[in-house]
């Protein structure tokens, strides 16, 4: 039992706390403001993390295809009414809309045609328009069905009849979605698909009763409407239903967008982690402000504690005094800050289009939030209290040592710390640097005062006053330094992020647009000629050949990606770094360019040519002879002459209309021989079956519609591949080649420059190291031998996977010529890299019509996708918000420290007594403010430059790509940093100028009114002369 006297004794410190609070509440303005801002910021970050998480989740959910958004209950085999009821009840229980019942039967041959039949209840929902034709119920006598699927309709007879089945195809229509069937019906792949709305009727058709079938009941799960915090509940309900379903029957299965939901949750949970780390660091920095603020103003509290001790207070009284004073301050400040933060968070949520109430109730206004607030209150109270109770020198020394260690460790870790911790490190480093600044500023000020002793009086006086009680100005300087440092780091982060985003985008899309084959593998130049692309882009269009290359260093085969790109276009690619190549890009491009023509054209056929006539003889085995005709676009068309035998024969091949160049003749084994050889080779790969034939080709004559025939001289043509010239080139009309039956074709064509001149290539260092002494390297590109010469080394190249074993880059026309020389048509470009000033026009063209089948990527989209990542945006926002708050604290701290509670009025009175007038006092104060501001900003900029080391790690941690390509590089925005420094000094100077003007003008009256006096007047009683 505590005695009453002791209880009464505890009231004394509380009375003192109340008196102090009532008399001069302004003394706590700075720490209170710091705590309030930290609380508001914490609330804001918590809400923003929720917003970012939700946006991340929703971006994943929005990308999900309708097929991935359905909940589907499937029953394998014939269905009973009980099963249907169970499935429908389950979907109903999940709160989903009315389900669609789907019956899908396996393929069946009807009237010689393999078809799939299906029943989709509520079929009209899945069709783009009204039903074509009359689609009645499905009966064995007549089952009307629709032919569904994309692409050109296949030839399906109007009636498909078997025993017990009489399907009448009443029309055709594409399905709006792949959802009901679970696949997109396409006649090209799986044959025609016929659909009826009468599920029961189709199920009951006796002629199809033996077919394996599945029943599905599917209902849309509107995942795009789901919020992050709803995902877990939805997923749990689905998983529970799935488990119950499996228990009730093994024929049941439930599919739902588990993967999408999981991915959305994963993405969403990353955002808060990252943001809370970034915010946590900033909050820690703000907490350090509180510590510093409390430390700077502890003189007053310590004096009160001394008075208390002198009055007989015991340790518990002192502790109670400190706890009560710190406690109410923290409680009031935290409450105010939390209220402001909640308001700001609501505004933020609304501006982001998020439900403010839900965001708050899932982030801030929660039990965890309240507990955090309580913990924060306790921590802040203990911090402030400890500062008053403990010896400051020891605390600040301890803090300084800890801060220095943390700073060194963090900066040593530098870019290596690539995980979320990096986000925490930067603000923590700021805080640590702030503590160090606080600890060292006093010494620096005294040193500066010593240096200024021989200088003018005014700056010396200002320095003397700064150094007089250095803790307070040091605090202000530390405030400014941390604010400037945080701001500088935010600028570095932003610059690095922008540069990184641009680099990532340029790595994926080196020019403005990259067009690649779509799902049907049609290349862009197959879909539209180069001229059309050039007209569309009104800019550079680079045809690019993307394939693989092999080489064999030391017997092992290494496969690397190979890229052919016009050397002339290399200079235009974005995101190139000097460090990416062994020489400047223009130099490397020059080295790739061929010295002369890369290709020798074959004879051009006249426009009137209709036939090619070739005399061919093959001794050994028959050989199929084909002509490769090349159109002006470079597309190869093969026309077959026929099979040449031992007796020799004149073979003819029809020339299609158009302008053609005869690029080569190809020799192949007859199909039967190829199959036999292939079979034997596959059975016994060690000793491949091979045979050879001697083939005489020529004379070759071009036969036009009218006019004289045109002979083609083949004597100088060379055989490559499976064909090999048997003698030196000659000028005759006949080419003599040997042909090996190896499964590969033989090509006979004019001699090409690439036969003797190696293809210049740029490679990675490892590949370059595999080259011979003359830098030559034997490559197999796309299965064809190509002799290359390494003319430069690159560390990376856009669009090429850095994880591959290496890469090869060549000039596209040269590479194409080399490949075409081995296999006509093999050098065709796969992609187009487009540079355009009409992006919207290109985008529109690629979004519709025939070009829509191609895959296209826009650099600006990739750029925006990276920059617009919720986490990256959130981190940037948190950093700038923390900077703004820090600057506010810095301004308030500066004014409070030098003009407000920290102002040494005794020193000021002393100056007044010594004859310094208001102008002098004002000037001295302004010089003091300016010195503190400039010193703080300089230190802050130093901190910012140091922290740029962490910008890369922070950008990587906040990004959505784990290992960005190319690696993120630090960007130090010197101009922006300088502007930020000048701006900060200007703001501080302006605020200081205004404040001193108001202060000194009103200050004198204030001081005079506080002079001591008595209640009665003094009257001279005696004046005695001695």
């Amino acid at each position: 039992m505590i005695p009453a006297a002791r209880l009464r004794g505890w009231l004394a410190p509380l009375i003192l706390v109340v008196a102090r609070g009532r008399r001069r509440p302004a003394r706590w303005l700075l720490p209170a403001l710091g705590i309030a801002l930290a609380a508001a910021f914490a609330v804001g970050v918590a809400a923003e993390s929720q917003i970012a998480g939700d946006q991340s989740a929703r971006s994943v959910l929005h990308q999900a295809s309708p097929l991935d958004s359905e909940v589907r209950v499937t029953w394998q085999g014939p269905v009973s009414p009980g099963v249907a009821n169970q499935a429908q009840a389950l979907l109903h229980g999940l709160g989903l809309g009315s389900p669609t019942e789907v019956l899908l039967l396996n393929q069946v041959r009807l009237d010689g045609l393999v078809v799939r039949t299906a029943g989709i209840a509520q079929l009209s929902r899945w069709l783009p328009g009204p039903w074509p034709g009359r689609l009645g119920p499905c009966r064995p006598q007549r089952c009307p069905m629709l032919l569904v699927g994309g692409g050109p309709p296949p030839k399906v007879p109007s009636t498909l009849a078997e025993i017990g089945v009489n399907i009448v195809v009443v029309g055709s229509s594409p399905l709006r979605s792949a959802v009901p069937l679970g696949f997109a019906p396409s006649s090209a792949d799986a044959g025609p698909v016929l659909v009826t709305w009468d599920v029961a009727g189709l199920d009951a058709l006796p002629g199809l009763s033996g077919l394996y079938r599945t029943h599905s009941w599917l209902a849309p799960l509107t995942i795009t409407g789901l919020r992050w915090w709803q995902l877990a509940g939805v997923e749990d309900r689905l998983a529970g239903s799935q488990a119950r379903l499996l228990v009730s029957g093994s024929q049941f299965s439930l599919s739902a967008p588990f993967t999408t939901l999981d991915e959305a949750r994963a993405q969403a949970s990353v955002a808060p982690q990252r943001l809370l780390l970034a915010g946590g660091g900033a909050i820690t920095a703000l907490a350090m402000f509180i510590v510093l603020a409390g430390g700077g103003l502890r003189r007053d509290q310590r004096a009160e504690l001394d008075r208390l001790r002198n009055a007989g207070a015991r340790a518990r009284h002192c502790a109670l005094f400190v706890a009560a004073e710190s406690g109410w301050l923290c409680a009031a400040a935290l409450s105010a800050g939390a209220a402001v933060g909640i308001g700001a968070a609501a505004l933020l949520a609304s501006s982001e289009g998020e439900p403010a109430g839900a965001i708050l109730t899932h982030s801030v206004i929660t039990w965890a939030g309240l507990i955090t607030l309580g913990t924060g209150w306790l921590a802040a109270t203990v911090l402030l209290g400890s500062l008053a109770m403990l010896r400051s020198a020891r605390v600040s020394d301890l803090l300084a040592v800890a801060a220095a260690s943390a700073l060194v460790a963090a900066l040593a870790a530098g870019t290596g710390s690539d995980q979320g911790l990096a986000l925490l490190l930067a603000p923590l480093c700021c805080a640590a640097a702030g503590v160090l600044t606080f600890r060292l500023a006093g010494t620096a000020l005294r040193g500066a005062e010593r240096v200024a002793r021989s200088g003018p009086v005014l700056p010396r006086l200002a320095l003397v006053d700064l150094a007089r009680s250095p803790a307070v100005p040091a605090l202000a300087i530390a405030f400014i330094a941390v604010a400037t440092g945080l701001g500088g780091f935010a600028l570095s982060y932003r610059s690095t992020l922008i540069r990184s985003a641009a680099d990532q985008a340029a790595d994926r899309v080196p020019l403005d647009v990259l067009v690649a084959p779509g799902p049907d593998f049609h290349t862009p130049l197959e879909v539209a000629p180069l001229q059309r692309w050039q007209a569309l882009a009104s800019g550079a269009v680079l045809p690019v050949r993307r394939t693989d290359a092999n080489y064999t260093p030391g017997g092992a085969t290494v496969t690397v990606p190979a890229l052919g790109i016009p050397a002339a276009g290399l200079a235009g690619i974005h995101g190139w770094r000097e460090s990416d190549g062994s020489a400047p890009l223009t130099t490397l491009a020059r080295r790739l360019e061929p010295a002369g023509p890369v290709r020798t054209a074959g004879p051009t056929l006249p426009a009137a040519a209709r036939w090619l006539s070739l005399h061919a003889t093959s001794r050994g085995f028959p050989v199929v002879v084909t002509a490769d005709l090349r159109d002006p676009q470079g597309t190869i068309r093969q026309v077959t002459f026929g099979t040449a035998g031992a007796g020799g024969a004149v073979l003819r091949a029809a020339v299609p209309p158009g302008r053609w160049e005869l690029q080569a003749l190809e020799l192949e084994e007859p199909t039967g021989l190829a199959i036999t050889n292939g079979h034997q080779n596959s059975e016994n790969p060690a000793a491949a079956t091979q045979s050879s034939a001697r083939v005489a080709l020529g004379p070759l004559v071009v036969l036009p519609d009218r006019g004289p025939s045109l002979p083609v001289s083949l004597g100088a043509w060379r055989g490559v591949g499976a064909a090999a010239s048997t003698g030196p080139p000659a000028s005759g009309a006949v080419a003599m080649v040997g042909f090996s039956a190896s499964g590969a074709p033989g090509v006979v064509r004019p001699a090409q420059p690439t036969d003797t001149v190696p293809v210049p290539v740029l490679t990675d260092p490892a590949t370059a190291a595999s080259a011979g002494p003359d830098e030559r390297i034997a490559l197999t590109v796309d299965g064809l031998p190509v002799t290359a010469r390494v003319v430069g080394v690159l560390s990376r190249f856009p669009t090429l996977d850095p994880d591959s074993a290496g890469f090869v880059v060549a000039d596209e026309p040269t590479l194409a010529a080399a490949l075409d020389a081995r296999m006509p048509g093999q050098g065709r470009p796969d992609e187009l890299w487009i540079s355009t000033g009409h992006l919207s026009r290109v985008r529109a063209a690629l979004g519709g019509g025939t070009l829509a089948q191609l895959d296209s990527s826009f650099r600006v989209d990739v750029d925006q996708q990276w920059l617009g990542a919720p986490v990256a945006r959130g981190v940037l926002g948190a950093l700038f918000a923390a900077t703004a708050l820090s600057l506010v604290l810095a301004v308030v701290g500066l004014l409070t420290a030098l003009l407000g509670g920290g102002r040494d009025e005794r020193a000021e009175s002393d100056l007044t007594e010594q004859g310094v007038g208001p102008r002098g006092l004002r000037a001295e104060l302004r010089v003091r403010l300016a010195l503190a501001s400039v010193l703080g900003v300089i230190v802050g900029l130093g901190i910012a430059v140091l922290l740029t080391r962490l910008a890369v790690a922070s950008v990587r941690a906040a990004g959505t790509v784990a290992d960005p390509r190319p690696p993120v590089v630090t960007v130090v925005p010197w101009a922006a940093l300088a502007a930020w420094g000048v701006g900060a000094v200007a703001v501080l100077a302006l605020v200081g100028w205004l404040a001193t003007r108001a202060l000194i003008r009103s200050g004198r009256a204030g001081r005079m009114s506080r002079e001591p006096g008595t209640e009665s007047g003094g009257v001279p009683r005696e004046s005695a002369a001695r």
Binding site: G312, R314, G1018, R1021
Partner: protein, 514 residues
């Protein structure tokens, strides 16, 4: 022998500083019985305040034993020391602002020690009223410290220290800033407390009158006891063969540096040794170097000057219709009880305050007509000012402090340094000129401030309680210095004081009496 309340045995206190270690107490031995009033006299920096802090457990001794009520307070944990202070002690520090919270009204401030000890509210009220009645402060009970004069604050601080009837009262210069009447009341209060409740008291003072009420007086110098006066008889202290004699006694006996001791049946006889030089005469009040130049003495006149603070019901008249002409080139002492308006008068003359009515004239200029810049300029050109609470810059040396003030007043660096050195020598701080101001004792700091004022005065020297922290000898030296400033330098000196030594040197005395 009565119960020992306090006992110090061979106590050393060494302060470690960058300039070298300094022993505040060097083998101090002391014993205080129950109900005994002990005064400790000594010059500034002798270690008087350190004794109190050591006894209070606020400072740990470097060596030796400090027993309070038989318990070694030097080896107690902080918590126990705190309890001991709580239960037994009343502490009155040297500065009243260290005793009174600036945010508490005086009634609450005096009641605070009672409340800390859990005294019931009614009893606490009664005790506070009783103390305020005795000290005649009842009508100022609702004031804040900032609204009080220095003397009033000191009396309130003493009330707070006595409120809970401590068994041991430790008081550091309790009458330092008080007028005679207030000082008498304070002394009476202390003695009454000691007699009535058996409180033991240690009074650190430089005031002989205050020391006179004590049962026993110790004189200390350089951290050692040099004299022990008990029941009117001066004794010297013997400690293990060491005998220290008071300098005054030695001087009176004509003994300088060497003495001869001869045993007798009753003890020993100490006589002057052969070849011993005569003791040097007291240094402080003597031979001040004359400054290189003299100034036209300022002519200061007050015409019907009144000064009041506040408005309406809270309006307080500090000075009322005061007319006086301060004689140029003469020293005028302004006296009066605490709160009579002495400081206010000095500030009016210095242009730091404006009169509510009437005119303050300086060299014919009506100060009321000058703006703040002009007043500041006038101070720079003419006035040396020593305030009651001077604020030297801690980390600068005494010399640098003085020179800086002179630089502010427009002297070039060399002249400022020269004048600073001269002024410090005149103030008796020549050997402390390079010491950091923060390392000076309170008395030395006050003399440093005086040196600054002296160096910067060019016709008018205004000083406020210049001896409040000086021991007797230094007070006499300061008084002589002020008189010299008037008579030799030609300064008009206006000095607020209640110190008879200063009043004795003044050419004129103005007594303010509300």
């Amino acid at each position: 022998m009565s119960e020992m309340i306090v006992e110090l045995r061979d106590v050393f206190c060494v302060h470690r500083t960058n300039e070298g270690d300094a022993a505040a107490l060097a083998g101090m031995n002391l014993a205080l019985g129950r109900g005994e009033v002990l005064s400790v006299l000594g010059p500034s920096g002798a270690g008087k305040s350190t004794i109190l802090r050591v006894v209070a457990g606020l400072q740990q001794p470097s060596a030796g034993i400090v027993r309070v009520l038989g318990r070694d307070i030097g080896r107690m944990p902080a918590r126990t020391r705190s309890r001991l202070r709580h239960e037994l002690m009343g502490f009155l520090g040297q500065h009243s602002d260290a005793a009174l919270s600036p945010d508490l009204r005086m009634r609450a401030a005096v009641a605070l020690p009672l409340r800390l000890r859990g005294t019931p509210r009614r009893e606490s009220h009664r005790r506070v009223a009783e103390l305020l009645e005795i000290t005649a402060l009842a009508d100022r009970a609702d004031a804040l410290p900032a609204e009080l004069s220095g003397g009033e604050r000191q009396r309130f601080a003493l009330c707070a220290a006595l409120a809970h009837r401590p068994a041991l009262l430790l008081a550091d210069e309790p009458t330092g800033e008080l007028d005679d009447a207030s000082a008498d009341a304070v002394r009476a209060l202390i003695v009454e407390l000691a007699r009535a409740s058996g409180t033991s008291v240690i009074l650190v003072t430089h005031d002989l009158a205050t020391a006179g009420v004590a049962d026993r007086t110790l004189r200390i110098r350089d951290g050692r006891i040099t004299g022990d006066r008990l029941d009117g008889e001066e004794a010297v202290v013997i400690d293990g063969g060491w005998l220290r004699l008071p300098p005054d006694l030695l001087a009176a006996a004509g003994i300088g540096r060497r003495a001869r001791v001869r045993p007798t049946a009753d003890g020993v006889i100490v006589t002057r040794a052969a070849g011993d030089p005569s003791p040097a005469p007291p240094a402080a009040p003597e031979a001040q170097p004359r400054p290189p130049e003299s100034w036209t003495p300022a002519k200061v006149e007050l015409w019907d000057v009144a000064r009041s603070f506040g408005r309406g019901l809270t309006r307080r008249h500090v000075l009322g219709r005061l007319t006086h002409e301060f004689a140029p080139g003469r020293m005028t002492a302004v006296t009066g009880r605490s709160g009579a308006g002495k400081t206010t008068l000095l500030k009016l003359v210095a242009g730091l305050e404006r009169a509510t009515s009437g005119q303050v004239m300086l060299d014919g200029h009506r100060l009321g007509d000058l703006d703040a810049e002009q007043l500041a300029s006038l101070r720079r050109q003419r006035i040396g000012y020593l305030s009651q609470e001077p604020a030297p810059i801690d980390f600068l040396s005494a010399e640098e402090n003085t020179a800086l003030i002179l630089r502010i007043r427009g002297w070039d660096a060399d002249t400022a340094a020269e004048r600073a050195a001269t002024a410090l020598t005149r103030a008796g701080l020549a050997d402390r000129a390079r010491q950091r101001a923060g390392r000076l004792s309170a008395g030395e700091a006050q003399r440093l401030a005086l040196a600054r004022a002296l160096a910067s005065a060019r016709g008018l020297l205004i000083v406020d309680e210049p001896t409040s922290r000086q021991d007797e000898a230094n007070a006499r030296a300061v008084a002589a210095l002020l008189a010299a400033a008037a008579h030799q330098d030609g300064q008009t000196v206006i000095c607020s004081t209640h110190d008879p030594a200063v009043i004795g040197q003044a050419d004129h005395v103005v007594t303010l009496d509300g």
